[in-house]
């Protein structure tokens, strides 16, 4: 059973096709990157998976459950068991780091003692134990990134989606954080789908890289295979 399976998914926004005939299967525990130029439909694929958009056609399965089919979502985003790290991180500014983590656990009805232990473990994993009471605005860029990651992971989703989460960070921090993401994925074992337009980032984080162009898959293979494909085709959007 695949962690995620998209079958002939299509989506138009504002009358313009953004995702076309997109078919992809991701086994559990895989680290997959979706790579492509701006506007190629990468983020739309993530939002379709999360249930924040409904596909126009095709079907989507998550952990073997059919969640979207024939133009409508069958399972709401809150019930899909998917975590997401947004490009702008979307940390709730009125809540502390602890509050950000606890929100999802409360929504899922996790008991208080269990909540405390899960939050403590997660804060420890992302090295934010000392900042549990801090508001997002009081954290550095890297700490905010870790808090967003911890929030996505604390409810123990099987699949984590990341939408260019490091794009606003400086180069040094990006290098540090992508190592951190890889470490956490290996430790916890969640399925990771990571969207980026940065080649280095994609090849560093993912074992498998899907190349997207004009809403469709152009190449799909191991990091080395995709790298070779890129070298041979030299697309114009590459730096």
């Amino acid at each position: 059973m695949n962690a995620v399976a998209l079958d002939s998914v299509s989506k138009s926004l504002g009358g313009k096709p953004v995702v076309r005939d997109f078919t992809l299967a991701v086994p559990p525990g895989e680290r997959l990157a979706i790579l492509g130029p701006s506007g190629c439909g990468k983020t739309t694929v993530l939002r379709l998976l999360a249930g924040l958009l409904a596909p126009d056609g095709g079907s989507i399965e998550i952990s073997g459950q059919l969640v979207a089919q024939d133009g409508r979502n069958l399972v709401e985003p809150e019930d899909r068991g998917v975590g997401m790290v947004f490009q702008d991180l979307a940390l709730w500014p009125h809540l502390s780091v602890r509050g950000n983590l606890e929100f999802g656990l409360k929504a899922k009805g996790v008991r208080r003692s269990e909540r405390q232990s899960r939050m403590a473990r997660m804060l420890d994993l992302v090295h934010l134990t000392d900042y549990a009471a801090a508001r997002p605005a009081e954290l550095s860029g890297g700490q905010q990134q870790r808090a967003a990651l911890a929030r996505a992971l604390v409810t123990q989703p099987k699949v984590i989606l990341m939408d260019e989460p490091l794009s606003s960070q400086d180069r040094e921090l990006r290098l540090e954080l992508r190592t951190e993401i890889t470490r956490l994925q290996e430790l916890i074992g969640f399925t990771l789908i990571y969207v980026t337009h940065d080649l280095d980032e994609a090849f560093h984080i993912a074992a498998r890289v899907v190349l997207m162009r004009n809403g469709a898959i152009e190449a799909d293979g191991t990091a080395d295979e995709t790298r070779r494909h890129l070298t041979s085709t030299s697309p114009s959007w590459l730096p």
């Binding site: 999360a50 997401m84 947004f86 500014p93 009125h94 929100f103 999802g104």
Partner: protein, 528 residues
Amino acid sequence: MVKRAVLILAVAVLLVAGLAPVAAMFVRSLDVDGQFSLANYESLLVSGRQWTLLANSLALASLTTILALAIGVPLGVLLGRTDLPLRRALAVLFTVPLLVPPYIIAVSWFDVLGPQGFLSQISAVAAEHAAAWLFGLWGNVLVLTSVFTPVVMLLTMVYLKTVNPRLEEAGKLAAGWCRVLWGITLPLVWPGILLAAVLVFLLAFGELGVPMFLRFSVFPVESFTQFTAFYNFGAATAAAAPMAGVTLLVFALERALVHQGTVHIRFAPQGDAASVIRLGRYRRPLGLAAIALCFLMVAAPLVALVARSMSVGAYAEAFAKAGDSLVRSIEYAALGASLLAILGFLLGYMIQDRALKGWPTVDWLTIFLFALPGSVIGIGLISLWNRPATNFVYGSFLIILLGYVAQYAGVTSRITAAILGEIPPSMEEAAQLAGARWPRRVLLITAPIARRGLVGAWLGGYIFCLRDVGISIMVYPPGQDTLPVRILTRMANGTPELIAALCVVMVLCALVPLAVLGLLLKWRGTAR
């Protein structure tokens, strides 16, 4: 599912409170002795007096709009974009007349220019001329210009914040500030200025209290008189119909000119220090001019009002004769504001999220109802609710609250929509992916993040409910009048000192909550 149901319920409340009464009024105007008839409209068209009323109403609204634009737009630019001294204090002071019932400003001007006003102590002849002038078209224009200029000023200031500073900076590389303002900034904020003009025109067109106090014949006064003095419901509704018609017409014109479906306010990223216009050698003269204008338009009449009220006896009498109305006003305004904050939040959410298909219509309806004369909504409410089966509404304060909800939902929904527009959608999406259902997301994430806007919406609702005259005076149940209505009805037989004291109390009721909130925000800002 829950989200959809709640939002549909909110729209239903707006339709029942706002649209149904206007429709009922229109139907009632076509009913003469139980038969369909256009007799009310025929008599309206053939009566020469009605055409005079229309001419007076249009002249008053047009002149007020022109003057309010001429003063409000430059003032908005000066206070919103330049380094003018005391600009924050001036912005607050210029806004004061908008926060109180407009007729209080008329009473204030009466205390300056009236037969026993301050001018009479300087020159009896001048005062005689001034009093005659005050009780005519231009006197009404003067008062309504003081009241509604802040609408233009505030909307100009708000829309200026939506202009991306980079666009002006690009212009600044080739031209001075005057040319940039004229050629780039003002065309970009044109929809805001047009909206302000439309609102001022319609608010002046529908104003009841000022022309009633200054005895100037316009449609709202006619409609009110037909209803209260002669209880001629048909004539009252027929006189109200042109007001609704003009409101519709003006809005259609505005939409045709602006070509946009709704009023969207998106604040641009904060500009740097360069985006503030340095006035240089003009800073001091322009500052003095603004202070002088503020003194003339706001301070002088209000100081005259306070001076007139200055006796312990007047205030003791005021509390003895209108204490109950004062308490009721505050209660109704607080209740109305709370309802409006909730309804406005839901409608604003729907508009911002485009959550229901008919969101543009709902958005338009809230603004239309806001611009509709209060007396029209009042007559509509009576048409709809004055029946034995619904007397529990008509005979209680609920009818006033319905009127508030109908007329002022546009204020709170606009404030909420603007604030929600500043919150990235990812905030709520993150909560959704964390497992929270819609009520939890809205209550624990969206509303707390938008709390400042919600407090602002509540205060806006409170101020508008508190200052309301048009609806309250038409629908208040016996013995349940509000303070603005009590003052207006006391004017015929109260002493000028008593009326002035009552007006000062009214002004304080509006300003004190704002001052407290301002201090609280300042204190919290300092504490951080």
